[in-house]
């Protein structure tokens, strides 16, 4: 997802007997479905894991502006340009909400951004794939936002109050993102042969990276157990991925496109689709920095930050002068 491989404590989940009284009381609140608020006591590991997850999520929103921003200047109609701009603007807003949520845990946005720019922080692997034709704007909204929604709807139930509330706000906007994406796809498949080919090409390229968004298979997901126990994570990677496949394959068929996974079949008994896993070696390579766009994305973010330093410093200096003058 937008936070695919969040490191947790790295230890196995403590049993109730192994916990201190404070930890036990905390776990009881979580189990009762209570929200944890910034001023409440929380285990150190809970705080650290949350900071990692929320900041990865925030970074993903911010880096996520780039692949769609790549087509804003080439949007084919004034209306499409406006819709795409509004959509990317929402993602910047999501980044802001999430950095604010992270700041309630005692970290600063500036430090988190430094971590991102220095390559110490992760963001979703999906944004390291390129957007190569206009149908990618459809496929990103439909598949990438579609996958994000599955996760973010679940995260509205996460145990940390500010994170949960950020998700509620974000989910309201996400359905517009997915809808505008699907709408582009509908126009493309109803269009000329070239447009239909663009749509198929976009789907073929983004299908597997979209499956990777949910993170590695549960059996290899080393940090999930503790996050699930703390309800920082509320759905397993495999559950999310299955849900995505089940909702997306009928949509592909509705569009009249070919399903990239030729072996995908619906099990009439369970109602679920079987599907082929994405190439997990590729996934881990992308996380390590070897995706097709990792270097470009980081270069773009660093350039924006460095080139903008004088602007931020200028505003800060002006504000300081005003405070001094007011004293």
């Amino acid at each position: 997802m937008y936070a695919q491989t969040v490191q947790s404590t790295g230890r196995k989940v403590k049993s109730l007997e192994e916990m201190s009284d404070q930890e036990r009381a905390f776990q009881a609140r979580i189990d009762a479905g209570e929200k944890i608020e910034p001023k409440d006591w929380m285990p150190d590991g809970y705080r650290k894991t949350l900071v990692r997850q929320i900041s990865q999520h925030a970074h993903s929103e911010v880096v996520g502006q780039l692949p769609e921003g790549n087509w804003i200047t080439r949007a084919p109609t004034l209306e499409r340009k406006a819709i795409l701009l509004a959509k990317v603007q929402d993602e910047a807003g999501h980044g802001l909400y999430l950095y604010s949520a992270a700041e309630t845990l005692g970290v600063s946005r500036a430090d988190l951004i430094d971590d991102l720019l220095a390559g110490r922080a992760k963001y979703s692997s999906i944004f390291n794939y390129p957007t190569l034709n206009w149908a990618d704007m459809g496929a990103v909204g439909w598949l990438v936002d579609g996958a994000a929604i599955i996760n973010q709807v679940a995260l509205q139930r996460t145990s940390y109050g500010p994170y949960s509330r950020a998700m509620v706000r974000i989910c309201k906007e996400e359905s517009f993102h997915a809808r505008q994406g699907f709408d582009i796809m509908m126009k493309m498949v109803a269009g000329t042969a070239a447009q239909k080919a663009m749509a198929q090409d976009a789907l073929n390229r983004l299908w597997w990276p979209a499956l990777m968004m949910f993170g590695p298979p549960d059996k290899d997901s080393v940090h999930s157990a503790q996050s699930m126990a703390w309800k920082i994570k509320v759905m397993t990677n495999d559950e999310g991925r299955q849900k995505f496949v089940d909702q997306t394959i009928p949509q592909i068929e509705y569009l009249g496109l070919d399903v990239p996974d030729k072996a995908a079949r619906k099990n009439p008994k369970t109602g679920h689709y079987s599907f082929v896993d994405p190439d997990w070696d590729e996934f881990f390579a992308v996380l390590k920095g070897y995706g097709p766009c990792n270097a470009d994305r980081m270069l773009a973010r660093n350039k924006a930050h460095d080139d903008g330093a004088w602007f931020r410093e200028g505003l800060l200096a002006y504000a300081e002068k005003q405070t001094i003058a007011a004293e």
Partner: protein, 246 residues
């Protein structure tokens, strides 16, 4: 009338595009959001002006046909809006100079005797006043910020200064529009523009550039080299796939 509407719509189309080029690359997230707002307003205004231009022309062209299927010599925007973004200081100064002109221009056009023109101007003037408020505030703060922010803003105003005069130059079409009661002469605005400009520059501790040489041509279709490159990007899809509907 058609040409007058193109002048209005091409300004917002071209500047809206330039501003959108920053998407995801601005100095701070809050600016990404603010720039998107401005660009969205300008694109919305473009749809109104060019939509009416297409109607008035009566050749079955809509706003998209006018935006995406004309070549540079048919564009009627001021040169200042096609100037490249360069650094963020240039972008903000370009926006400020344009907003200052645009806001007054729209306020004047709100006196139009043509209801359709008046209707569009009345809607746009509210957005323009918000844009002007924002850009004025940033010019003042950056002019009075650090030595570097001050010098960048001074450099920007000097680089853009030759493109200010064109905003207030009356030509035959302006005189015709004035006589027809559609829009007052641009030159009417100059004293108000100068007054507001001087106030803001002095609050920003910036020096008003000397000289009044004006680069002209945009309003009659003679543009800078930059516009052709911008259109090559912007119009790529409708040009490459003329039969497609998006």
């Amino acid at each position: 009338m058609y040409e007058f509407l193109l002048r209005m719509g091409d300004n917002t189309l071209v500047l809206g595009h330039r501003v959108s080029e920053w998407c995801g690359h601005s100095p701070v997230l809050e600016e990404d959001i603010a720039l998107a707002n401005i660009s969205l307003d300008l694109i919305g205004q473009t749809r109104l002006w060019l939509g009416l231009a297409g109607e008035v022309e009566g050749q079955g062209r809509d706003a998209d046909a006018l935006a995406y299927r004309r070549d540079a010599w048919d564009f009627r925007n001021l040169l200042i809006v096609e100037r490249p973004n360069r650094d963020y200081g240039h972008t903000l100064m370009r926006q400020f100079l344009f907003d200052l002109w645009h806001h007054e221009r729209l306020a004047d056009i709100c006196l139009s005797e043509d209801d359709r023109v008046l209707g569009i101007a009345a809607k746009c003037v509210k957005e323009a006043s918000y844009h002007l408020e924002r850009s004025t505030d940033l010019i003042v703060r950056l002019g009075g910020g650090t030595a570097e922010s001050h010098s960048r803003m001074q450099t920007a105003v000097e680089a853009l200064w030759p493109y200010v005069g064109e905003m207030f130059t009356d030509d035959a079409l302006d005189i015709e529009m004035d006589k027809a009661g559609i829009a007052p002469l641009p030159s009417n605005q100059r004293p108000r523009f100068d007054e507001a400009l001087n106030i803001t520059l002095s609050r920003a501790s910036l020096t008003r550039p000397a000289g009044d040489f004006a680069q002209k041509g945009g309003r009659s279709g003679v543009h800078t080299e930059d516009l052709g490159h911008m259109l090559a990007t912007m119009q790529f899809l409708p040009r490459a796939y003329p039969d497609a509907r998006w």
